[in-house]
């Protein structure tokens, strides 16, 4: 039991951090977005895990007017609600990010952050020289 719980906690943390690492360390913009998605999924497990009650079931009453009884234990519905919201927020962020990537690719012909930065810097130098030549 203890081992499983500990392992699961740590696995979730490893996932989060792997996502975080991809976000900040990879230069590929699509990878960054994938990293964000993994990071956020890790947070979702964390939240949903908070609401889990051992031996509980999903918080849905099968029959009308059924009340909470001693016999049935339900898991906490609140984290589920929060995560439903967070999932949608995550996908929305991803969509905007990807749209930006498409535009960036169109303008720069690259989706590697370091390449794009090099292009920008080169252009700035050219621009500066252009001003001087004028």
């Amino acid at each position: 039991m203890e081992f499983f719980a500990l392992y699961n906690d740590w696995a979730v943390i490893v996932l989060m951090m792997a996502g975080f690492y991809i976000m900040i360390a990879r230069h590929n913009l699509v990878k960054k977005i994938l990293g964000l998605s993994i990071f956020q999924t890790g947070i979702f497990y964390f939240y949903v895990g908070l609401g889990k009650v051992d031996g509980g079931t999903a918080p849905i009453f099968i029959e009308e007017n059924e009340k909470l009884t001693e016999a049935v234990i339900y898991s906490n519905p609140l984290p589920h609600v929060l995560i439903l919201t967070a999932i949608v927020v995550g996908v929305a962020t991803m969509a905007v990010g990807l749209a930006l990537i498409v535009r960036i690719y169109e303008k720069y012909g690259s989706i590697e952050e370091d390449e794009i930065q090099a292009i920008d810097e080169q252009e700035q130098i050219n621009d500066h020289n252009g001003h001087a030549d004028h």
Binding site: A5, D9, M16, M17, Y21, I22, V48, P77
Partner: protein, 204 residues
């Protein structure tokens, strides 16, 4: 008996999380972005399974539909407009690694003291004004059998309004970023018929 069921549940989650870690490693190291995207779709499906194991069926549904479905589709769509290949990245980023490890260590430090997984008596699960209120009073107060739905739509309906606004914002954002581009492409005579057809289908 509960002990056993719980143990099985824990075990299932453990296996699935291990699968996820493997998938994540794949996403980190694969140079082929298409493959990485497919893996991330798979990742979402496995997550949905984990959510089911954690009793969060609504979340599982959403994750399967939104995470595995919609996300994958928009990722594939984005890839079709950009590149499939990632440039090989040799050096490992040491500062990033340090930051990540520190953050991870902090997280581990935090979880050591947390109510254990599945604890029904934890503050989160036993708060009479929130968790217990929803479970006990929601059928009377809202008349909806699914407590998640009732919280979503009623108790925390305002969050849901915000969520809708987020989706709307994202839609506006995507529209503003990509809307014009398509028009310009249509004027481009060099398009293949297939590309043109694809754009038309997207436009409608």
């Amino acid at each position: 008996m509960f002990e056993d069921i719980a143990a099985i549940e824990h075990f299932v989650v453990m296996i699935l999380l291990t699968v996820l870690i493997v998938l994540t490693l794949g996403i980190i190291y694969l140079k082929d972005l298409l493959a990485a995207v497919i893996l991330s779709g798979l990742y979402s499906l496995v997550s949905a399974a984990i959510f089911v194991a954690m009793d969060a069926v609504d979340v599982a549904f959403t994750e399967a539909a939104v995470g595995a479905g919609i996300s994958t589709i928009i990722l594939l769509g984005a890839l079709s407009f950009t590149k499939r290949e990632q440039k090989p990245q040799k050096h490992n980023n040491l500062p990033a690694l340090i930051i990540v490890c520190m953050t991870g260590a902090l997280l581990i430090y935090g979880t050591l003291d947390m109510p254990s997984y599945g604890d029904g008596k934890s503050p989160a699960n036993s708060n009479p004004q929130l968790a217990q209120h929803y479970l006990q009073k929601s059928p009377d107060e809202t008349g909806v059998p699914n407590v998640v739905t009732s919280v979503l739509a009623s108790y925390r309906g305002y969050d849901t309004l915000g969520e809708t606004a987020v989706v709307f914002t994202a839609a506006i954002g995507v529209l503003s970023l990509l809307g014009l581009r398509r028009r310009r492409r249509q004027e481009d005579p060099n398009l293949t018929p297939r590309q043109r057809r694809r754009q038309q289908s997207e436009d409608t």
